[in-house]
Symmetry: C2
Subunit: 211 residues, 2 copies
Amino acid sequence: MIEIYYHPLSFPSLAPVFTAEAAGIEYATKLVDLSKGEQSSAEYLAVNPFGKVPALKDEDFALAESASIMRYMARKNQSELYPEGIHAQAKVDQWMDYIHHHIRTNIGKVHFNRSLAPMFGAEVDEKSLSDGLRFLANNFPAIEDCLSQQPYLCGDVMTLADIALVAALEPIDISKIDISEYPALTRWLADRRGETFYTNVHSHYGAELGM
Amino acid sequence: MIEIYYHPLSFPSLAPVFTAEAAGIEYATKLVDLSKGEQSSAEYLAVNPFGKVPALKDEDFALAESASIMRYMARKNQSELYPEGIHAQAKVDQWMDYIHHHIRTNIGKVHFNRSLAPMFGAEVDEKSLSDGLRFLANNFPAIEDCLSQQPYLCGDVMTLADIALVAALEPIDISKIDISEYPALTRWLADRRGETFYTNVHSHYGAELGM
C-alpha cells in the first residue's frame, strides 16, 4: 500500500493526501514529527534524502516533493485528475506551477509570519509579510477570472490543479488571509471543502499529534 | 513553429529555450520587454493571462509557466528529456520541483538583492539575502550527493531536471554565489555549459536588448 509521510503543520503534505482520497487510492499516512527532528533521521533520509515532508513510498519506490507525488499517484491509477493528452496535461501543469510558485509561496510568507513565527517564538519579518500580501493581491485575480468562467481551474472537471489550490489555501483562516473580494474563488473553495476528499482527511488528519 | 516569449533578465525564461535546443525543436523567441511593461499589454495577456514570462504559443495553443512549457515541448516531441514510464517521469518531476522550490527560489533572493536591486535602485532586503544563502547551503548538498554518484540528476542521461538546474544556476556568476565547495556540481555545470544547447543560446540570447 502507498505510504505518505507527512506532518500536519506542513500544508504541502496535505495535497498528496487529498489526491489519494480524490482518486480513491488506498494509502496510509506516516507521521514525521518535525518537532523531534525526525525529518533528519537516517531512517527518514533513506526515504527522502532531501529531509523534507511530504514523501511517498510505494513498495520499493520512494519519491519526494508534493506535486511529483500527486502526479505519480494520478498516473499510476490512471485518474482523470491528471487527464490524458498533452494539451490537457499541460494546462494542469500550468495551473499547478502557478499555484505553487505564485500562490502557495506567498501564503507561506503570510502564514509563517502571522501564525508559525508567533507559535514558535521566531522573529516576524514584516517585509516578507507585506511582500506575501502584495503578491497574493497581484496573483489571485487570474484565479478569480478563471473560476468565474468555469467550475474548475482546467474546465468542467476537477484536476490535480484544484487539489493543489485547496491545499495551498489551507492556512488562510488561521492566518487571516481574506479572499472575500474574490467571490468565485470563495464559492469554489466552500464547495471543495464540502467534498469527501476534504472532509475525510480532516476527520483524522493530525490525530497522531492530538490536533 | 513554436514561439517562446521571454525576457533575457528572466532566468525562468531560459529553461524552455534550453529545452527547445536540447530536444532539437524548431522555435522562435519573442521578446517581451519588461522594462516597457509589455507583459501587461492586452496583446500579451491574450497569450499569458498571468502577465509573466515565459510563455509559449504553438499555433492556437498558449501555455504559461516555465516547467509546464518544458514538459509540453518534451512530450510533444517524444524527447528522452522526459522519458517514458511513470517511475522515470516521477524522478524527473521530483528533481524539477526540488530545483524550482529549493534552489531557484533561493538563488532568486540572492540575485535580486545582489544584482537586480542595485541595478534598478530598489531597496536591498538583507534578511531575504541571508535567508537565500542559508537555504542554498542547506539545499545544495542533496544535489552534490546525487551528482557525485551519477553523471546526471536522474541517472545516465540528461533530462529536463538537468536543464532546470542549468537555468536556475545562470545568475551565480553575476551574483557571486560560490559553488566551489560542491566539486561534482561545479564539474557538472562546466560540462553542461560546454554543450551546444547552452552555447547556441548564449550566442544570440538577449541580442534584441544588446545584451
